[in-house]
Symmetry: C2
Subunit: 345 residues, 2 copies
DNA sequence: TTGAAAGCGATACCAC
DNA sequence: GTGGTATCGCTTTCAA
């Protein structure tokens, strides 16, 4: 049984309140050096550690925030979490990790749990999160920050990347390499990121005076398997694309497998660009050209923003939008004469 | 400001203690249906949620456990965390994530923080963790479970994989393919896993009547870079190995890069086996043969074990040892005549 | 310069 | 069947 402040006080021959003031370095406390030393000594001798639960009850703040993510094994998230954890640790906040497995029911019950635990705030990560969740958090009056998404009903802060710009970088790169038949395997179009990347794709084609063909655009979930299936549909077209912009690295990976399995190669026959530049991108073969998203920063800034919200500071930058960057690797190459011949064969 | 139990009691015209009993379904409570309904209605109307902080203070248990890991971006951990989170969520426990960046100081301060927060238990993951940390946790009398490691001074429970067996599977596979010159890039030898994998390597060579050559054994940290450097040393030997058993996938990855950069190929010239079978293994090129460790189970069982410890149940299985399994992929191949010729050239 | 006491929100023992 | 009340460990206002 660990020592309490009362025991420390007794041993030092003072009142608990005095011990409290010493521990918390109360500025408006003037105390005799000798008394303070007796207290510090008692703390040391009893190996006293304040009970944060009691403290929280009194202070109505827990120094804890919840982080809700759909799936930690998705390579997209660990970097974000690391950034968040890092910022949290700097501010002496604890992070409760909530993995929802993309299950709305689990998500709802986590919100309830976090409410009961009196967390100071919540990070809502990922596009899969339902708008109802945002409503629930709002109703519970818990400060929150959206990570990598926005929501129609969100009045809160958010940190995300400029998806339109990211898509633009990808398409411009492919166009610069001489590609004209450029397909897009989009993410789910009820997600903000999915929509924005599609928007960037269309807009850039337009700027480059390349017509948008609806058969070059296939919707998929953000998974390898769906990327594979989507690519198969593109390969089955009478006039398949020579360049593919995938809405994320997993989709790109699946697409590359499909291309290989159908006897073609990347980038000789088809160039592929991914999104997020997860760790995977540089490990796969061939290394994947991908739009790099500052994931660590996203997590870090989200916690910073949340911390400010918790402290009630007014937000100069309520919605933070980060800039993506294109990482060019070997999965993209010039559209050669050969590429065209093969395609037209 | 959320409603308290007192407000619920007032609205229902009863005493707070009665509300408490209803909420907690106190078995030895007999109550009129009508009174219960009044209470339930008041709860509903006020959107009452019990305050877990107050509850914890009274009950001296928080329903929270800490999980200490060195680096969440290491692909080894997310699966473990997912398993742990899953078991925790089933038991209505919350998981506080503590990423130490392999910094002993941060590790220590996290233990203090978790102590103050009165967590019910701690999961200590990874071999990098210092023995002093275990001492500290022991001193604070917090139940703990070691994940993927043991410690000299650990009296606690642990969940790990049979590293000796894993190494054995790897070496037997290489031997069966005809390899005789088999090197081992070991992990750090002050870690349990590093030592055990080395032990399995030596023992199996012995069983196969292959002499152990000290120049075929290079120590490395569990990183890609160190794998690369270690492999370079092996390649510089007058008689380089034809098979390499790396202590984990990252090391194997580095080794493969080194082999390629020096103009040789995997598996034609040199076969490579990794350990852990992280997601990476099947994504790299060529896909890596690796010893599969049931990471999800490790996390899951660790929490189960911890939960039992918290409940004070006696442990039938204090030290859980899981069985590894060899995943054979394209990074290993038969030692051909050609392999030998090239090596001897 | 320090002490006394109220109170945060819930639970549980003891009454009646 | 239900109410009263002490208590968990800490903070903070008010007194002295």
């Amino acid at each position: 049984m660990p020592a309490t402040i009362k025991e420390v006080a007794e041993r030092a021959g003072v009142n608990p309140s005095t011990v409290s003031r010493v521990i918390n370095e109360d500025p408006k406390l003037s105390i005799r050096e000798e008394t303070r030393n007796r207290i510090l000594q008692a703390i040391e001798e009893l190996q006293y550690r304040p009970n944060a639960v009691a403290r929280s009850l009194r202070l109505k703040t827990t120094g804890t925030v919840g982080m809700i993510i759909p799936d930690i094994t998705n390579p997209f998230f660990p970097e974000i979490i690391k950034g968040a954890e890092s910022a949290a640790s700097e501010r002496e906040l604890s992070l409760i990790l909530c993995n929802t497995d993309e299950n709305p029911e689990k998500e709802r019950s986590y919100i309830e749990l976090l409410t009961e635990k009196q967390v100071d705030g919540i990070l809502l990560a990922s596009a899969y999160i339902q708008d109802e969740t945002v409503d629930l958090v709002t109703k519970r009056k818990i400060p929150y920050v959206l990570v990598n998404r926005t929501a129609r009903n969100a009045v809160g802060a958010s940190v995300r990347v400029d998806d339109v710009l990211g898509a633009q970088l990808a398409i411009q790169h492919l166009v610069a390499l001489g590609h004209r038949r450029i397909a897009h395997i989009s993410g789910l179009l009820y997600t903000e990121t999915g929509l924005d990347r599609l928007e960037g794709y269309r807009r850039t084609l337009n700027q480059c005076q390349i017509p948008f063909l609806s058969e070059y655009m296939v919707e998929a979930r953000f998974s390898e398997r769906d990327g594979y299936l989507a690519m198969e549909r593109l390969l089955a077209l009478p006039d398949p694309p020579t360049g593919v912009f995938a809405a994320n690295d997993l989709i790109a990976l699946g697409a590359m497998s499909a291309i290989r399995d159908h006897g073609w190669s990347v980038p000789e026959d088809i160039s592929v660009v991914g999104f997020n530049d997860t760790w995977l991108a540089e490990k796969v073969h061939p290394p994947l050209t991908s739009v790099k998203v500052p994931l660590y920063d996203m997590g870090y800034l989200a916690v910073e923003s949340l911390a400010r919200k918790i402290l009630g500071e007014t937000m100069p930058q309520d919605k933070i939008v980060l800039k993506p960057e294109l990482m060019i690797r070997r999965s993209t190459d010039a559209a050669t004469a050969r590429t065209r011949v093969i395609r037209e064969a």
